[in-house]
Amino acid sequence: MVERLDQTNHDDEDAALVQQALDSHGDLRPFETLVERHQAKVLANCRYLTGSADDAQDLAQEVFVKTYFGLGRFRGESRFGTWVKRIKVNHCLNFLKRQKEKGHVDVNDPVHEDHEAMQVEPVVEARSEAANRRHVIAATLERLPENLRVPLVMCDLDEMAYQDIADQLGLGLSAVKMRIKRGREEFRRVYADIQEPKEPLRRKGP
């Protein structure tokens, strides 16, 4: 109940800030306050949707710039956070498409199922950071294949509805549910591996 009230207050404050930003005629301060309220989540989402920590800052900035120039089209029918989420998801999915078109080799592609052998370093890196639970979660997400990570992040990080995820990804509802289920299983398995590795992974080879 208290949580819901907090959420309502948060939404009302967002709506008031959007109105101030629209009325401000060039004064960016109300919009900057909106950015400050949403940046941590937008940034996390950009990072884990794309799997690229290097590009996440740039992507998040572009999302907020798009948001700023689209403020006039925001009708207030949905929450500001939901609206930003839509811009962010579209932007990140377009980024992933462009990366594929450029011909980047995706080691997480299902074609490369044997990717464990290619990912020894992240495990070691994650183990050294295991004291921090958040870092372990981040490292776990980075190890998930893209086809499982993206629906999982949209569902469990961004709290999107299954149907919205299916629409965004151009997949069927049952396919999305299946990927999320598999994503969670894989997430738990990798998380447990990083927390308590049974034996150090070695590179396969002669």
Binding site: Q39, V65, I137, E159
Partner: protein
């Protein structure tokens, strides 16, 4: 994407650490806001520049066409003397 209740999946599927994903946040770098501000100002400047260029271009074009029309034989406006 309407405001909907978050999905309520099979309870067996949730639990730690999956639920902790919802709390995942990333702290932005120190110049994050400044770079957003810079990008916005750049886009506004470019937009103003394009507007200005277009308006100057069309104004010049209309002035030139006006001059051309007035120079054509028979299109000159009659002077006060000619009217008389």
């Amino acid at each position: 994407m309407a405001d909907q209740q978050p999905p309520q999946p099979d309870p067996d599927d949730l639990g730690s650490p999956v639920t902790e994903l919802r709390e995942l946040r990333e702290e932005p770098s120190s110049g994050f806001m400044a770079r957003i501000r810079g990008r916005i100002h750049r886009r506004l400047s470019v937009s103003e520049m394009v507007d200005f260029t277009f308006s100057v271009f069309f104004q010049t074009l209309f002035d030139y066409l006006d001059l051309l029309m007035s120079a054509l034989p028979g299109s000159a406006k009659p002077t006060a003397k000619e009217k008389d």
